[in-house]
Symmetry: C2
Subunit: 583 residues, 2 copies
């Protein structure tokens, strides 16, 4: 964030790159040279909301994690013959039991992970990290692990917010980042690309943009999948968790983009079919997606690709008078059958309040104009996005959005707001790291609702959040459909303790399950949300997951330790609502 | 078909309604008062292709099935206490072991079924037919059947072309047509409707068109699902087989339209969730769809509904020079990101040849013009369709289709052709019945291909068909996607024997499996295609279906006798290709 200098006191924001090999280099997001911190007005707001003073920001609450990783108290427990066997499969240089690489793949990115890492709470670690190169190697590793009863975990991009990658039972973690990230094939006729599961978001997009040079393609392409974690997430992670990108309203979630998958499972190679639709029994692609590594290791994915036509993009942003009107307008846009916008993002009043500062709208003439026209703070709702697709299509979507916004009394806010959002869309996690040095902790929870239960879920969940101490909770919908949308809650709170965070998180998840919403729209379940899954799906419905698990992995070696609840004890599960019919 | 009088000999087309209670009233399609027969030029073509003469059409090959159904040789074998128990659940009037109602639900609509019924080959029959009224009744029936080890079959609309409804093991058939066809709820906010599974296509559409009157809705709606069997098919049948309607290129297949499902299974009630997308493990909706009654009885379905805006429809039709050019143009239209047309139908040269006669284009000035402009018979390809959606969207799709058609050298054929197709779109089965009286038998097979294997599958399958004696085989694609399309083969042949038909059908299905195409795009698998399913999916992949079956229905009582291959013996299955990777 390029900021004006503060007029008053400015906290000692940590703007030094973390040393290589340090704890901080693990728990901090992404690029070591990039930093983001709040501008002065936001800093003031924060102090106010969290009942903090400048004194709280004079020094870091805790150790900032610059010291080198030292796991001498947590030595690898794997037998030397296993190391030798793994080395035989992938090569000597690609198997390690060293401290740093083990810790580097031990945690994801939920605040629970970051707080634990900041306090050097080493709960779980893999015993060995392996860097596979080929699908055949992954298959051999899985076969070996099954024979020797070793747990297998996978680390793709590392941005799980559900403890999805955590090696709760030790054993092997496959770190896919180093080598398992290659293009297998590109098919321009079918507009598909097949990649290894460790392919990162940026590398995939770069590959597709350069399709003419790399593959002699007629034009550049895009996969259309841009989660906030884009820069540090992998195709495999997207697929196994059923992720969604910020442009999903047009491109679809990853479950819509996937054409085919290949897995290395304990019972052998599983290859789904690769056709757009078929009537050949239950859909195997949809059975494997969402299994989060518990059925086997995803090795290869075939994805749809789309034409890359950023020149056709139309940006828009509007302000609505209040949340009720805004929800109605958003629904009308989604049900209008004029095509869907690519990014489609509606913020509730509390988020709007924050955004106007975050995107510097408070410093433009728009701010007083809003007040003057009766768009009241903590009532008004910001809506922004942009369209994609063929020129006429893109224009028609934008035109209809404008028409409907007008009908619902919205005020146009220019393309400025959307551009500001775009600038920050992948780098908000840097801001989170900076604030955590002073015990200001940010995390998110999200769910799916239908239009008819949206107001109630929004109200109920926020009421629970607001009853928690020192909490700012902002909400938006960002993945929208004719039948409903996600609701995404960002909560910021003064907190510096992992156990306290877990209790806090639990309270909100309880509220989401009770509200009847789908307990995840696109983050997945992992180990952190697992206690709520069976209660959400229903016991007999959940039984389907169990029989699938026992078919693929009867020894419970694939991502064990609670992932999607498969090896949780009954008493560890939450059943807070009776499964209700939809009406 | 309203025809001009024949100039030469006219066959004795059977234009008398079948008597109530007759065999013919069962094997004949739909409305007893509606008839369709070929016009003279088509009749002549038929004689030529099948090496037939007027003599072959002087009288019907066989008994025309006017005599009353008599099953005295096939008495119901169900014990009286079971009848009493079922009567207790649904009421005395809604349980029957009488001949006619048993035979009426014994067969579907593949030519194999019709040939067997025409020859009174009674292979399989339910012992009792039950007409449930409520979900609770269906649940009680399933629970009773499980307790007493009675097989349970379901008859929805009766238009299965896969022997999906055939009561191979006797027992109970639930005939859903009489009572299990009610609206459960309509939700205009979410744009969804929940119905009992026996709801018919026309009743559903009528309900949605009348939503303002029936539910006080703001506007009329449509479900957008119009299979050729529309008039005699049920929502339940669509869903369990993963069907697709003729407008699926815009509205999606039923797998896209379904929001939620409820099943009565041997282990109890299963309710899927009802959200547009979620990341809560494998997708249960997609696991239940395609189970074809083998996991339990589908009781209720929640469907998306769309705004009914026929006023925005834009019709189009074009002629392409040849199949290669036409395929390229169709692919370009699908990958253009301008939105999708609702009906999108491209015929290959042999089908085009037939269509020009069937739709009377041969009698318009367009016919000589085509010849003159070098669009040669048996080379040229007819393409037709119409758009739906919001006005600007619909117009933009049609505009882009026109532009791309022009780019590929197509000749516009006016809206006349599309209107002719629309007239016949649901009543072609009547023509089939009329021709079968003279041993001219029609049936269809279909598959999914990607664009890159379309030419090869089209060529390979047709080569096999053409090697069969007396065969006309026409092909079209009618459900299209950016990554591929279906290929739909209609074959017409001189044949009057069910065993011979089965051999014939097998030869073509072998060719489809060998070609590597998905062995069904939307007909489903049933009992007739079951031998090929495991070979198509792969053994380990198919194993998923088996464990699901054993979870839901360990006693194999739900639609038993080969449905989706679950209780076939290994030697009954076909493994004609090694499962290959997609590239």
């Amino acid at each position: 964030m390029s900021n004006k200098p503060y007029k008053g006191f400015e906290p000692k924001w940590l703007l030094t790159p973390a040393p290589e090999g340090s704890y901080r280099s693990i728990f901090r997001w992404g690029d070591p040279e990039f930093f983001k911190y709040p501008k002065e007005s936001l800093y003031k707001l924060m102090k106010e909301r969290f009942d903090m003073t400048d004194d709280d920001f004079r020094d870091y609450t805790d150790d900032i994690g610059f010291d080198p990783v030292d796991l001498s108290e947590y030595p690898s427990k794997i037998a030397p013959e296993h190391i030798a066997a793994l080395e035989k499969i992938v090569g000597k240089d690609f198997v390690t039991t060293q401290d740093y690489p083990r810790l580097a793949v031990a945690y994801g990115c939920t605040a629970y992970d970051l707080l634990r890492l900041r306090h050097k709470e080493i709960e779980n670690l893999p015993d060995v990290v392996v860097y596979p190169d080929t699908t055949e190697q992954v298959e051999q590793i899985v076969a070996y692990a099954v024979k020797e009863k070793l747990p297998v975990y996978v680390y793709g991009g590392g941005s799980s917010v559900t403890r999805g990658v955590e090696a709760v039972k030790g054993g092997i973690t496959l770190d896919m980042r180093k080598r398992f990230n290659k293009v297998i094939s590109f098919n321009e006729t079918d507009q598909t690309i097949t990649v290894q599961a460790g392919m990162s978001g940026p590398k995939l997009e770069e590959t597709l943009h350069n399709a003419p040079t790399l593959f002699g393609a007629k034009r550049p392409y895009t996969c259309g999948h841009f989660p906030q974690s884009f820069e540090y997430s992998s195709v495999g992670g997207w697929v196994v968790t059923r992720g969604a990108g910020q442009n999903s309203t047009y491109y679809g979630t990853i479950a819509d983009i996937v054409m085919g998958q290949k897995y290395a499972t304990p019972i052998g190679r599983i290859v789904t079919s690769h056709y757009p639709r078929e009537a050949t029994g239950p859909d195997l692609n949809q059975i494997m997606m969402g299994s989060e590594g518990t059925f086997g290791v995803l090795t290869e994915v075939t994805l749809k690709v789309f034409r890359w036509m950023p020149e056709n993009r139309k940006r828009f942003s509007y302000m609505f008078k209040n949340w009720e009107i805004a929800m109605d307008a958003a629904r009308e846009m989604m049900q209008h059958e004029c095509g869907y916008s690519s990014v489609f993002r509606l913020s509730d009043p509390e988020e709007t309040n924050l955004m106007l500062k975050l995107y510097n709208v408070d410093e433009t003439p728009l701010a007083p104009l809003l007040d003057k026209l009766g768009f009241q703070d903590m009532q008004r709702c910001m809506f922004l996005g942009f369209t994609d697709g063929e020129k006429g299509f893109s224009r028609n979507v934008a035109k209809n959005i404008a028409r409907i916004a007008r009908k619902y009394g919205a005020m146009p806010m220019t393309g400025f707001v959307t551009k500001s959002w775009e600038k920050g869309r992948f780098n908000d996690p840097y801001l989170r790291d900076t604030l955590m040095d002073f015990s200001v902790t940010t995390d998110t929870l999200e769910c799916t609702v239908n239009w008819s239960n949206m107001a109630q879920v929004h109200r109920d969940v926020r009421a629970v959040c607001h009853a928690l101490p020192n909490t700012v909770v902002t909400t938006h919908m960002s993945h929208c459909y004719p039948q409903g949308a996600n609701l995404y809650f960002i909560f910021i709170t003064k907190m510096n303790n992992s156990a306290e965070f877990k209790r806090y998180h639990t309270t909100i998840l309880d509220a989401i399950q009770k509200s009847g919403a789908a307990i995840s729209h696109h983050h997945g379940i992992g180990k952190m949300f697992a206690p709520w899954l069976e209660g959400y799906l229903g016991e007999k419905e959940y039984g389907v997951l169990k029989v699938l698990k026992e078919y693929f992995d009867p020894d419970y070696l694939m991502n064990p330790g609670g992932t999607i609840g498969l090896d949780l004890k009954p008493e560890e599960k939450k059943f807070l609502v009776e499964k209700k019919d939809y009406r």
